[in-house]
């Protein structure tokens, strides 16, 4: 059997004169592809990219975003000085800013934040952050909100990205590490069951491993309403209606049980909840499921047969199943497949989720979430609070309680319960659902600070904009989609007057009179050392993952609780799960429809997603010439039959509208979409933003909005 090629001989890199290659990782998605940044040693400028062939996860491979990522650091649009807006009437536009010194900007922030807190209480401030930043920054942001600003209102954009995957894994397995196995197992398995992931466009560098499974004679099953590039070549494409995954997953479990493709010994010894689930999924016959999902019974039966018979199989999922008002249930339902068949806790078999944001994994473990503290500790657990307080040097009674989720922060801003916001590393004015409401909520703030390295759509609502650094001007660790902690290295000194986010937060904390909790942190390494200590004893234990070890081992898989151990590439090898009794939970999950179903007035289903050329809100990638040329504007995918019904043509501009908003898009006629569904990519801002239309129906557990389905209508202009 042939191995994937580059595992044998590692190519060399080109050595250009007067250049240094800095080993690091891409700034974008959770793949965190290894790359070398080419740095001119005379000018200290990043000038290009060279593959990093020795990186075991991606072996030098990069998508078009990765190849051009280096261009963001020295881009002409970089913010180089703090900006202050004196005229609040111009909020929501790029106008009305003036350049200011750091001292003036920081003093103004502290003065206004303090005034708001004195008048309206500590919790009138909020911190809204992101997970495209290092673990160290994520950790410090949590500490900054709770220790310096003393507010309970902190949350992050992972609510729009990974929160449901986390919730499902926690409930089923007792722990949330997105992947139970390393990516280097992927191409060695016999069956990949991939649900709700446009892998080819969102995580392209996984694709050579996916194709390798088929080249070896293995199977690829894809569940997706669209015939994406990966679905096109799949052995089986289950083209379900958006928002019906839960029924499909229950049907898979039903068929696995019915056909005897289950591992009774594993179920008896290592799981709870089987009997209850068996009873519930009995309803989900292929015929009944077909009525809900629109997938033919034959396809459902064949899919379960392939997965059931596979000696090794991996169930994988992404935002397609998670960004629903039942995202957590969807995730648990798909994990059920692995649990009833015993295909978890061994190499080449398991469950894995594709992480959207660069540090979607690490970013949710270290205290940026409203209910969590570093190391995945719960803020409602007094013992956990005590452990973290010891590291931070505060008293447990000083620790603010749990706050609310990202979207709910905007609801509180609308009600004037929150009057100030410190926003960093995120662009909710594009990425949040129901945008008209969210933008009004931001406009409604008394004082808003935005830290970013470009003028984002969200920065337009700020009173003070702080110029921060790009990923290549800072150092630290991130955790990729495998759960592998990796090292980001500094390639260039910060441009202009830019500062790293952790430096900015420490500055503000000092001016806030909280210096004693922060001023010992002089370098990123200092933050890293305190951060590792703060995770010790938690589920996500990073305490043994020193920077040196990460370099030496090509990354360290958490948990890694001792410097003397290597880490944990495969989870659950001992068949021990993280619930108190050591067993996993097979969940009985009744089906429920999406928050909004098509009706006479809005007869279509709208779903959203990505294109390969852009990352998240597009604030970074829309500025890179190559990527902008390849995809300059959004479009709406319409099936030829639907187009004929509405008498609309390719490239014609139409109006798309839902109960929440409307926007105009060019039509892209394609057979890749279902006849009852339309698709629009979400990377674009202002009037082109599809999130003006999306539904903020929240999952009851993860508080993730239902980006992936709502009722819509189109109109010819």
């Amino acid at each position: 059997m042939q191995e994937v090629k580059a595992l044998k001989e590692i190519p060399k890199n080109v050595n250009h004169p007067n250049e240094e290659l800095i080993k690091t990782h891409c700034s974008y998605c959770g793949m965190q592809c290894g790359m070398n940044l080419r740095v001119n040693t005379k000018t200290n400028k990043i000038i290009g990219v060279e593959p990093r062939y020795e990186w075991p996860v991606t072996e030098g491979k990069m998508c078009p975003k990765g190849v051009t990522a280096y261009q963001q650091t020295n881009h002409k649009d970089r913010l180089l000085k703090p900006l202050i807006r004196d005229d609040a009437s111009k909020k929501g536009t790029k106008e009305g800013f003036r350049e200011a010194s750091w001292d003036e900007a920081l003093d103004l922030i502290v003065k206004n934040f303090k005034a708001l807190q004195e008048k309206h209480g500590d919790d009138t401030l909020s911190v809204y952050s992101g997970v495209s930043m290092t673990n160290e920054k994520c950790y410090l942001t949590g500490k900054f909100a709770r220790v310096a600003l003393k507010t309970k209102y902190i949350d992050y954009n992972g609510r729009f990205c990974m929160a449901s995957a986390a919730g499902g894994s926690l409930r089923s397995l007792g722990v949330d590490r997105g992947s139970s196995l390393p990516w280097t197992d992927l191409h060695q398995t016999d069956c990949l069951f991939i649900a709700g992931s446009n892998t080819a466009e969102c995580h392209p560098t996984s694709m050579y491993r996916v194709w390798e499974v088929q080249n070896r004679g293995g199977y690829l099953i894809v569940v997706d309403p669209r015939e994406t590039p990966i679905a096109r070549r799949a052995d089986l494409h289950l083209d379900l209606k958006p928002g019906t995954d839960l029924a499909l997953a229950n049907c898979m479990v039903h068929l696995l049980i019915k056909n005897g493709h289950i591992d009774e010994e594993f179920i008896n010894q290592h799981t709870n909840g089987f009997e209850e689930t068996k009873e519930l999924v009995a309803l989900f016959t292929p015929e009944y499921t077909s009525e809900i999902t629109g997938v033919s019974p034959e396809k459902l039966i064949r899919a379960a047969e392939i997965y059931g018979k596979a000696p090794n199989a991996i169930v994988m999922f992404a935002r397609g199943v998670e960004q629903q008002s039942k995202g957590v249930d969807n995730v648990s339902a798909y994990i059920n497949m692995a649990l009833v068949s015993g295909k978890i806790g061994r190499p080449k078999s398991g469950v894995a989720t594709f992480t959207g944001q660069g540090n979607g994994q690490g970013g949710r473990e270290h205290g940026q979430k409203s209910d969590l503290l570093p190391g995945y500790r719960k803020i409602t657990n007094p013992q956990h609070v005590k452990e973290v307080c010891e590291v931070w040097g505060i008293k447990p009674e000083e620790m603010p309680g749990p706050g609310v989720s990202a979207y709910e922060l905007f609801e509180l801003m609308d009600k004037k319960e929150i009057r100030g916001m410190y926003l960093l590393c995120s662009n909710p004015a594009v990425s949040a659902p129901n945008l008209n409401f969210v933008k009004n909520a931001m406009k409604n703030l008394d004082f808003m600070v935005c830290s970013d390295f470009y003028m984002s759509e969200s920065a337009e609502f700020a009173d003070v904009v702080l110029p921060s650094t790009t990923w290549s001007e800072d150092e630290g660790t991130v955790t990729n989609l495998e759960g592998r902690i990796i090292k980001i290295n500094r390639a260039q000194k910060p441009l202009g007057e830019c500062k790293t986010d952790w430096e900015i937060q420490i500055e503000i904390a000092k001016r806030y009179g909280k210096g004693k909790y922060f001023e010992h942190l002089k370098t990123a390494k200092d933050v890293a050392d305190e951060f590792r200590l703060a995770t010790k004893g938690g589920n996500a234990d990073y305490s043994g993952a020193t920077w040196e070890k990460i370099e030496k081992q090509n990354g360290v898989f958490w948990p890694c609780n001792e410097e003397s151990v290597d880490g944990t590439p495969h989870m659950f090898l001992d068949k021990k799960f993280y619930h108190p009794d050591g067993k996993a939970k097979i969940c009985a999950l009744p089906y429920r429809p999406p928050g909004e179903e098509p009706d006479e007035q809005y007869p279509l289903r709208l779903t959203t997603g990505r294109v390969v050329y852009h990352y998240l809100s597009g604030n970074q990638t829309r500025r890179i010439p190559f990527l902008k040329d390849m995809c300059p504007e959004p479009y709406v995918e319409v099936h030829p039959e639907l187009a004929a019904k509405y008498k609309i043509e390719h490239d014609q501009v139409i109006r798309l509208f839902t109960r929440r908003g409307e926007a105009n898009y060019k039509v892209k006629i394609t057979e890749a979409i279902r006849k009852d569904t339309v698709f629009v990519p979400y990377h674009f801002g202002h009037e082109q933003s599809i999130n003006l239309l999306t539904n903020a129906a929240l999952d009851p557990m993860s508080r993730m909005p239902e980006f992936k389905v709502c009722a819509a209508q189109i109109e010819k202009l």
Binding site: Q2, V4, K5, P11, K12, N13, V14, H16, G48, V49, P51, Y53, T58, G60, K61, M62, C63, P64, G66, V67, T68, D190, A200, E201, P204, T205, S206, M207, Y208, W211, E212, Q214, N215, R216, G217, G218, Y219, E227, P229, I230, R232, R233, K309, A310, P311, V612, Y613, F626, M630, P640, H650, I669, T670, E671, A672
Partner: protein
Amino acid sequence: MKKVLYIELENCIGCRSCLAACTQCGGHEQRNRNYVIDVNPFVDRQTMPMMCLHCENPPCARSCPVQAIQVHETGAVLSAMTEKCLGCQNCTIACPYGIPKFDVEQNLMYKCDLCIDRTKDGIPPMCASVCPTNTLQWVTEEELAVKKSQFRLNNGMMASMEDPYLENKTNVHVSLPGILEGKEKLF
């Protein structure tokens, strides 16, 4: 060990990483010299990289009146030499694959040189280095032989381009669509 560029067409997802990577090669001055086309955008949405096949007897070079197009000892057909190129565009007309392009401003032809500054030292060309799908692969001749034996089409033809040629033998090898046809499944 001699390596060759091998293209497995069906793997292509249209991400155009190869184009972006091409701009990063030394001497390419941020311009890509390879292309990806949409084969049938409304129906099957298959995309296909259009790479120079580096013919053994290249028509672009044959048609050049001033020998501006040189063939490197590795087999790579190089871009037109700036000091010789007349800008007559014979090469762009002669190539059956549409690879050489003409830069009107510089009055100069430019084409893929198989990243000669890399491949002459055994380093993979940028397009194959980054290709996330293994559509573009930099393989040894032994590995190529394995590919040929692995992927047989129903019509019994070798997948890796032996025949027919549009022009003549090429240094770059292409698998025809259908590599998984007749593939024996593991179970």
